[in-house]
Structure formats: structure tokens, C-alpha cells
């Protein structure tokens, strides 16, 4: 009540007192409201990461997470997908509270920016040693400069992939690291690992995180010459403690990821990254895309040349906007140099050293983001010889975030130097801050045109949709009709592993990784990349173009693709877009359907989606006189009867040495409710007996598999074992097989993907790390 009777000057004084907090609140509200302004209530989904886990986290959790063997619109491969698990669990919980899908989607859009905005200011407070509270305005402006940077917005929000979370995570980790460095308090490590676990997204973030660390660590190492030995020792000690604990906390996905490098197999993630094609692509990609110059990054703008050369949406924004306003950004350069010229007199010794570290990191990241700087271009190509460096074959993308962040920190530091140089009442300081704010504001104006852009190579197709009920209902029908042990071919089959879902009321589309497995639990093959760079990708395209239906049907059969899912309402402009190869699309007509399918089995309510059975059906597991049931993505139970001679066991998914078979006791106890029986294959598929995890699964980590030496590649693609009954009889007691009267035996086998075990060990290490650190922090506080 008191406030009501306050005089106007008193009210103004109070507002001024809280103005910093109010400014923060206002900016956070603006960031939270931004997607409502951009997307008008439609979902913002699609792209390489689908972003469906923000909207349908539960479906995502149940159908794609937890297992090290992944099929996300692709043939199976070994990938530590569990990296998403903590986030999806948190988001599933949130989805129980927030029922509106678009609110969840928009929150996921804004949250990285809000986190980045908050933690950036906290980081600056840690970096300033002298009178830190006097420079809150500079820190706030620096934070806005960072989260609205045209470089970051264009690179990370045009197609917001997982690394958008690094916008919040990098300042947060840097902030907690600095606090730990200064105080040695482990609570900062605990906060870091909790944040890092929730927003880790593991391998998805590695390239961008490394791209940030590369210039930072280079700079820290070189600038160590400026520090005393004692300080260097403390730094190294705390650096190692901080990052080793953080690494251990990431074991739940990291262990499996590292093991893919050690147990290298043709269908592992690492085989793609180190493949010859991938490596030879490095020089070509760098040469084709790194033709920019340092001027635009210095003006805090994205590389103009690449946008123009490749006809990106940004090209139009440059031509209509930035080409007219770029000179305003000279204020950034002026502030940067004012900082360089004045830092010696206006900083204390620690701040001076920090400034030099930041300046070198900035100069290094300027090169890495640009590459095309005379002889340094060849130097970068030479770096491509370092194993794994091929990840940076598109430096304009990978180094964008690191550059944007380092530039923002440095320029904020320069603003603080400028603030110290001029008195608070000095007009020059006011002019500089006003011009700086104005430049940030002007640069943020095209944000809607940047983010809400048409699908690449189209002019009128936008990417914000509400997923139609017709599609969701049809997915539910598929779930009830098709067992998860099948694969579906999505038609039209495209260039990547994308699919198109058209909005009900407009021509807007979902264009991203096919979500069939997310909604139905059944994997689909939707494009060239679905074959994980295997030769079948090319063969399949050629067979469609040449109408070679014999080859097509053979690939469908050998890859256990038993259904065809047809989408009929794709807009013509999308069909002509980059998503489809014209010749391949042309070949997917009625004749194609007639020659690859036997009958139509499902139609959607409005007739836009149809499901067909293929000409010839296969099963996931086949062997003579066998019965199998799927337990989950990495485990199958198999009963094989009357084995009298050597016989083959086929597992029709990508070959990987991690797939192993284990002999079980008491084969007579195997229960089977028939789901599908194919006489020609002499195999029966039983109803699935889904179980996500049993403690007994851990035994596969140490139990010896059988017939490992006979595990071979079948049809250049799948897994094959040769079962020898005499080996069983000679090496196992009768508990492990059932002897029949004719001398043959019955066997019960478990087919298991052994690298799944690394996930369980990783979870144990993560739990122990977090638990023991939390306990340590609590005990130390007491």
C-alpha cells in the first residue's frame, strides 16, 4: 500500500534502482515471446533433428531412445542415441504439465536464448575483477549482442538443430569454470555437470563445442607465457579436475560413443566420419564454401559470399537490408579497437591478461570462421589430414557459434574498457553505448525474414505446420498393423532421409527426418541416406530411374522392407525442390507401385496416405524351423527346432560385429504366440514381448557368445551365422539344448547387440560421478 502514496520523484528513483532488473525481465519476456511473433501458433519442426522431441517427447522417448542400435528412418547403425535421454525425460515431464504442443515447441525455441542471455552476463561478472557491479549495462548489452548476433541467428536458428542449446550451455560452463578456477568450490562443478547432462546432446554438439574450444585452448596455451608458474599450475590442476569430472558425468553416452571408435564396424557412426569419401570431401567442401573474407565477421555479420554463391535466403536479406546498413556495424570495430588501444591503462593486471587471451582467441576464431585468408587457406586444408578434422569441412557453420561468442565476450570487455576510460557523464561514452545499442537493434530487425524462410529452393513453401490429425491417425493404424521388426519404404523416396507432411490448411510442410518410427514405432526408409552411405543407396536410385524392378524388389526383400507408405498430397513446388532428384521422383509413379507392391492394406481418412504390402515378404530373423520374438531394438529371442546339420541364421539388418548370439538354457520353455508365419522361410515371428531392460541383460557384457567366428556379412549388407549342432553337443551340457529322437537338437538363442552394455556401464559411471560429487559438496558444506 505504501508504494501507492509515493511521490513521482520517489517512484522514478525506485524504478531507476530496479531498472537493470526490469531491463533483464523485459528482454527475457521478449525472447520468450519471439516465437509467438514468428510462427503464429504453428509448430516449428523439421530439419535434420526433426525437433519433434520438443513436441512429442513421450513418443520420441518410447520409440527411439535408450538403445545403441538406431533406426531413425535408416537401416540400423550403432550410435549413442541415449545422449538425448536426460533432456527427453525432463521434457516428457514438462509435457505432462504443459499440454499445448506449440507452447512446448516455442519454449524449446526461446530457452537457449534466455539461458545464453542470463549466463553471458554472469560470465562477464566473473571476468571483470575490478568494480564488477559498475558494468552491468555493458554486460547486458554484450548479452544482447550475443543472442541476437546475425551470425548465430542465421547459423543456428534458420535450421535450429541441437547445438542451439550451446548458446546457453557455453556461457554457463565458462561461468562455472571461472568460479571454480577462482574459488575451488565444487558446487560449480556439480552445477556444470547437471546442466551438461540435461543439455548434453553429446555427439551432436561435439563439432561446435570443439570449434569453440579450439581457438580458446590455443590462446590459453600460447598466453600461458604471460602467467606465473604458480598460477599456471593452479589453472592446470583445476582445469583437469573440472573437465575430467564433466567427462565422467557424460559417460552414459560417451562410453558407447568412444567404443564405436575402438570397435570400428562398417555400420557405426564413426565409420561414416572416417570414411574415405568423407575425408576426400574435406578439401572440396572447404574450397567450395570458404570464399568469404574477414570484413563481414568483423562487422558481426554472416559470410556474405557463401549466402550469395549458394542462393541462400540470407542472400535476399543482404541485398535488401544488410547491404544498406552494414556501415553502422563499424561501431563494433571502433569499440573493438578502442578496447585494444586503451586496455592497458584501464584494466588491472588480471584483466589485462584475460584481455590478451580473449584477443588471441578472437583472432584465431576469425581465421577459422573465414579460412580464406591467403596462405592460411592451404594451412587449413593441411589440417584436414588430422584424423577427425573432417568434421570441420564446413567451417562457415561449425565455427560460427564459437566466433560469435568469443567476439561478444571480447566486445563486452572492450565496452568495459571504454566505460572506464570515459566518466559516466561523458557524452562520448553515451554516444558509443547508444550507437552500439542502435546497431544491435538494427541488425536484429530481419530476424523474422531469417528464421521464417521458405524451404530451400522453393519460394512459397514455409516450414511451420500443425501435424494433421489424418497423419497422426494413420500412424496409429500403422502401429496396430505392422510390427516393429519390419521396415517401410516411404514414397516419394527422396535425396536425404527426409519426408514431407503437408499442413491441413496451407501449403506449409514439415520437411525433415521421416518421423514414421517416432509415431508408429516402425522404421522407414525415406531416401538415399537411409542406406547409411552403403552402395544400395545409389543402386536403389538407379533401379527406380531405369525401372529395374527386379533389382528394386531384391533390395526391398534383402533389407526386410515389407511395406510401402505412399504420401499423395505433397505440393508440386516441394516436389521440384532440392529434396527430390527429378529423375528418381519421376520413376515413382503408378507403374512403380504396380511392380513393387502386392496389395493396398490401409488408407487414411482423407485418402492422402496409403500403405501397401510389398511383392515378397521377408522377416527380420530367418532360419529353418525357427521362431523368433522381438524383445526390443537390441534383443531377439530365437528358438530353432530340429537342427541336425549346419544351418544358417540370418539377421536382416545392417552388419555389425556387435551383434552376437548367446545360447540359452531350457529351450523347451520358449513361448510363442504366432504373429506372422512365412512357409517359404520356414520361420515364424512371434508376438513381441517388449521389455526395455532387465538386470540379466548385463551378463552379455561378460558372457561368451557362440559361433562368433561364423558371423559374416550376408548379401553385402546383413548378418549371417552358421549354426553347428555338433559344436553345441560337444561343448555344452544338455541343459542348453533339447535332444530329439532323430538325433537333431532344439536350441534357444538370444540375439543381442553387445555395445548396448556400454550404455549401462556408462549410466553407472554417470550416477556414481554425480552422486559422489553431490555427497562431497553436501559434506563439505556441513
Amino acid at each position: 500500500m505504501h508504494g501507492f502514496y509515493l511521490s513521482l520523484p520517489e517512484r522514478l528513483r525506485r524504478v531507476r534502482k530496479h531498472s537493470f532488473f526490469l531491463a533483464n525481465l523485459l528482454i527475457i519476456l521478449l525472447l520468450l515471446g519471439l516465437p509467438y511473433f514468428l510462427f503464429n501458433g504453428k509448430l516449428f519442426i523439421g530439419g535434420d533433428d526433426t525437433r519433434l522431441f520438443y513436441v512429442y517427447p513421450k513418443e520420441y522417448l518410447l520409440n527411439t531412445q535408450f538403445f545403441s542400435w538406431t533406426n531413425l528412418s535408416s537401416m540400423g547403425w550403432n550410435f549413442s542415441y541415449q545422449t538425448f535421454l536426460p533432456f527427453v525425460l525432463v521434457w516428457t515431464f514438462l509435457a505432462e504439465i504443459i499440454k499445448e504442443k506449440f507452447v512446448l515447441s516455442y519454449l524449446a525455441f526461446s530457452l537457449p536464448l534466455v539461458l545464453g542471455f542470463i549466463f553471458f552476463q554472469k560470465l562477464i561478472a566473473e571476468l571483470v575483477v575490478k568494480n564488477r557491479n559498475d558494468y552491468k549495462i555493458e554486460a547486458l548489452l554484450g548479452a544482447v549482442f550475443f543472442v541476437t548476433s546475425p551470425i548465430i541467428i542465421n547459423n543456428h536458428y534458420l535450421n535450429p538443430l541441437i547445438p542451439i542449446w550451446l548458446i546457453g550451455l557455453i556461457p554457463a560452463i565458462c561461468c562455472y569454470f571461472l568460479r571454480f578456477l577462482k574459488t575451488g568450490k565444487y558446487i560449480n562443478v556439480l552445477k556444470t555437470i547437471i546442466l551438461a547432462i540435461i543439455f548434453s546432446f553429446g555427439s551432436h554438439n561435439i563439432p561446435w563445442l570443439s570449434a569453440f574450444l579450439m581457438p580458446m585452448i590455443t590462446s590459453i596455451i600460447l598466453c600461458s607465457l604471460l602467467f606465473k608458474k604458480k598460477d599456471i599450475f593452479i589453472f592446470i590442476k583445476r582445469f583437469v579436475i573440472f573437465f575430467v569430472i564433466t567427462l565422467f558425468s557424460q559417460s552414459f553416452w560417451l562410453l558407447g560413443f568412444v567404443m564405436t571408435f575402438i570397435n570400428h564396424s562398417s555400420s557405426s557412426f564413426t565409420s561414416t566420419v572416417v570414411s574415405k569419401d568423407f575425408v576426400s570431401d574435406f578439401a572440396r567442401s572447404v574450397s567450395a564454401t570458404s570464399m568469404g573474407s574477414i570484413i563481414y565477421p568483423l562487422l558481426n555479420l554472416y559470410q556474405r559470399k557463401i549466402a550469395i554463391d549458394f542462393g541462400w535466403n540470407l542472400k535476399d536479406i543482404y541485398l535488401t537490408f544488410y547491404d544498406k546498413t552494414y556501415f553502422l556495424n563499424a561501431i563494433y570495430v571502433i569499440i573493438l579497437f578502442l578496447g585494444i588501444f586503451n586496455f592497458k591503462k584501464n584494466t588491472n593486471i588480471w584483466e589485462r591478461k584475460i584481455f590478451i587471451v580473449l584477443l588471441l582467441a578472437f583472432i584465431t576464431s576469425l581465421f577459422l570462421f573465414t579460412i580464406n585468408i591467403g596462405p592460411l587457406f592451404d594451412f587449413y586444408l593441411w589440417l584436414g589430414n588430422i584424423p577427425g578434422f573432417v568434421l570441420f569441412r564446413n567451417p562457415y557453420d561449425k565455427f560460427a557459434l564459437g566466433y560469435g561468442f568469443i567476439y561478444a565476450v571480447l566486445i563486452t570487455y572492450c565496452l568495459i574498457v571504454v566505460a572506464r576510460k570515459y566518466k559516466k557523464t561523458d557524452k562520448k561514452r553515451f554516444i558509443i553505448l547508444t550507437t552500439f545499442s542502435f546497431a544491435i537493434f538494427i541488425n536484429a530487425l530481419p530476424i523474422k525474414d531469417t528464421i521464417v524462410s521458405p524451404l530451400w529452393t522453393t519460394k512459397n513453401i514455409y516450414k511451420n505446420i500443425t501435424i494433421p490429425e489424418e497423419y497422426l491417425d494413420f500412424m496409429a493404424k500403422i502401429k496396430n498393423t505392422v510390427t516393429p521388426s519390419n521396415n517401410i519404404l516411404s514414397v516419394p523416396y527422396g535425396l536425404s532421409l527426409y519426408t514431407v507432411i503437408k499442413d491441413d490448411n496451407s501449403n506449409n510442410v514439415y520437411a525433415g527426418v521421416s518421423p514414421v518410427v517416432i509415431f508408429s514405432g516402425v522404421n522407414d526408409i525415406s531416401g538415399y541416406l537411409s542406406f547409411n552411405y552403403a552402395p544400395e543407396g545409389v543402386l536403389f536410385d538407379k533401379a527406380i530411374v531405369n525401372r529395374d524392378y527386379k533389382t528394386l524388389n531384391e533390395i526391398l526383400y534383402s533389407h526386410n522392407i515389407n511395406y510401402v507408405f505412399l504420401t499423395k498430397n505433397i505440393p508440386e513446388e516441394v516436389k521440384k525442390s532440392y529434396m527430390f532428384v527429378p529423375e528418381v521422383l519421376k520413376g515413382q509413379d503408378k507403374i512403380f507401385l504396380l511392380n513393387t507392391t502386392s496389395k493396398q492394406i490401409l488408407t487414411s481418412s482423407k485418402g492422402n496416405y496409403e500403405l501397401y504390402k510389398t511383392k515378397k515378404s521377408n522377416l527380420q530373423v530367418t532360419s529353418d524351423n525357427s521362431f523368433f520374438k522381438r524383445i526390443n531394438r537390441v534383443e531377439y529371442k530365437i528358438l530353432i527346432k530340429n537342427v541336425s546339420h549346419k544351418q544358417e541364421l540370418l539377421f536382416n539388418d545392417s552388419f555389425h560385429e556387435g551383434w552376437r548370439i548367446y545360447l540359452q538354457k531350457d529351450p523347451g520353455k520358449f513361448e510363442c504366440a504366432t504373429q506372422v508365419e512365412i512357409n517359404q522361410l520356414k520361420t515364424t515371428e512371434c508376438k513381441p514381448d517388449f521389455s526395455i531392460f532387465k538386470l540379466s541383460d548385463l551378463r552379455f557384457l561378460w558372457e561368451k557368445p557362440i559361433f562368433e567366428s561364423s558371423h559374416k556379412v550376408n548379401n553385402n549388407f546383413s548378418n549371417k551365422w552358421t549354426l553347428d549342432p555338433s559344436f553345441i553337443k560337444e561343448n555344452f551340457n544338455k541343459e542348453f539344448y533339447k535332444q530329439n529322437n532323430d538325433g537333431s537338437i532344439d536350441l534357444e538363442l538370444t540375439l543381442y547387440f553387445m555395445p548396448q552394455g556400454y550404455f549401462y556401464i556408462g549410466v553407472l559411471i554417470t550416477t556414481l560421478t554425480v552422486g559422489s560429487l553431490a555427497l562431497f559438496v553436501i559434506l563439505k558444506r556441513k
Binding site: 574450397s287 567450395a288 570484413i295 568483423l298 583472432i363
Partner: protein, 310 residues
Amino acid sequence: MATGLLIFFWIFSSIFLFNRISFSVVTYQTKNNIQINKDSELRSNNIFSGEFVARDNNLGLIILDLNQYKKSKLDKESTVIFKFREKRKGDWSFQREYLSGLFDSQADFSFGFPVILNSKNKTYQFEIVQNKNRNNKIAFSKNHLITGYQYSKSEIVTAKPEIFKFFFNKVISSFTDIDFVVKSVTYLIPLVLVYVFLLMIIKNFHFVKRYTKILVLLLIIFEILFPHYIYVDSLFILIILWTWAVFIYKLKSKTSFLLSLFLILFWILIIPFGFKDLQDKLNIWIYALLVFGFLQMFIEERKEYEKKNL
């Protein structure tokens, strides 16, 4: 004596190490007699043609300058066909196809063909076409080309008049090539440094100071007038001279940073006017000055910390 040795070092190091193709190939800048090419860009309906007189025997290749063709992701691979014959000798005697990707990011491209033993003073013609329906923007320099003459190993190593002929031709052809001359300056640096050192010994410091200034200015003018020559060497020389200037004039890091700020602001001003070559130069200069300025700053700071025990 020392001067003679250093000049010898300059000429022979350059000749041995800066070869367009290989040591045994003598190359000459040669005029393209056909100046009617409408467009230097090799479009689907355009034929790029050339005609020249061979300056020596053993003609085996021609090199054409490219206007830095960058294959974009949207370009589809095309085939570039090279045809070659002696003038007025009927059909094309040699024909070869190249994939357009080979031209990607190349400053020039060598078209080889079987060595013609008695080629001296004969006129030859060539044509380059791109297969239909492709428009990869490969562009050649219209006015001149480089012709290459392959000397056999026996001609070079045997002590006959041929060896002198070879070396004479090699020196003449090399030092009449401006590209070669620019590159070879690297090996002239020891000679320059020796002279500078000698001048310092005789205490003629003002002389050195004055000529350093002139050298830096000359180089900057050269860089602006000939922006096409973006090579490690010229940058290398610039850095050496800038280091020298910093040493002579006791310049602080601020000078390097100030110069880079000036160039950045100048660049911002000229963006609307294009000047691509100059912008390419500024791109290198500014970054080099930033790095240089940082190194100076780093050394300055370190000295100060050591002095004050910070």
C-alpha cells in the same frame, strides 16, 4: 665474391625451386593470336580458341590462366574437351576430355599432349569446348598463354651445346615471367639483408631508415598496382619489411593495430564499389596486421610483466 655467390644463389634457387611444371620443362609467355573469343567464360555454346607460334622444339603443353573457377554444390559435373592441331593440317591431331571438377579452385590449367619434336616456329591451334546443357562458369584468360617445351634428360645432363642452350632458355624464359620474378624475390632477401647489415656496420643508420621506408612504400604500391599476385612470397616480404620497420622506427603494437583499423574502415568504404582484387588484398593485409599487432603486444606485455615481476 659474397655478392656473386648470393646472386648465384638467387638465380639458381629460383630456377630449381620455382618451376611451373618441372625443371626439365622450359615455359614461355606466349601471345594468343586469336582475340575474337567473345567471352572468356566457357558456356555451353561457346568455343574458346587459340593460336600461337611455338618458340622452341619439344612443344608438349600449354597452360591457360583460369579466373578462379569455384565449383558450387549446384554445379553438375560437365566434360571439357580440348582439341589441338598444327595450323592447316586438317583434322584435330589430339583431343582429350577433362571433368569440370578438375578446374575447381585452380589458378591455371595445363593441357598436355604428346611432345612435338620439331615444333619451333610452327603455328598451332587449339579449341576448348564444354559439353552441351552445362553452364559451369569456367573462364580462361583471353590474351596470353604459356607454352611448355620438354627437354629430355639426356639433353640436360650430357655436356653438349644443348645443356647451355637449355640453361640459357631456362634463365631467359624464367626471368621474363613476372610471376616467376615475384616469387624469386624471396631468394633475394639474403642479399638485401647482407647489404643492410653492411650499411649498419658502417653506421649509416639514416640511410637504412630512409630506404626501409621507401621499400615498404614501393611494396605497398606494387601490391595495389598488381593485386593479382597474391602469393605467400609477397606477404612474406611485407611481413619481413614491416618487422624491419617496427625495429627501425621502434613502432609499438598500436601502430600495427591502427593501420589495420584504418584499412578496415577503408574497406568498409569501398565495399559498394567492388574492387574485388583490392578487397582480397585487404583481407590478407588486415589479418596479417592483426596477428602482427598481437605479437608485438604480447612481447610488450611480457617484457613489462618481467620488468615489474607481475
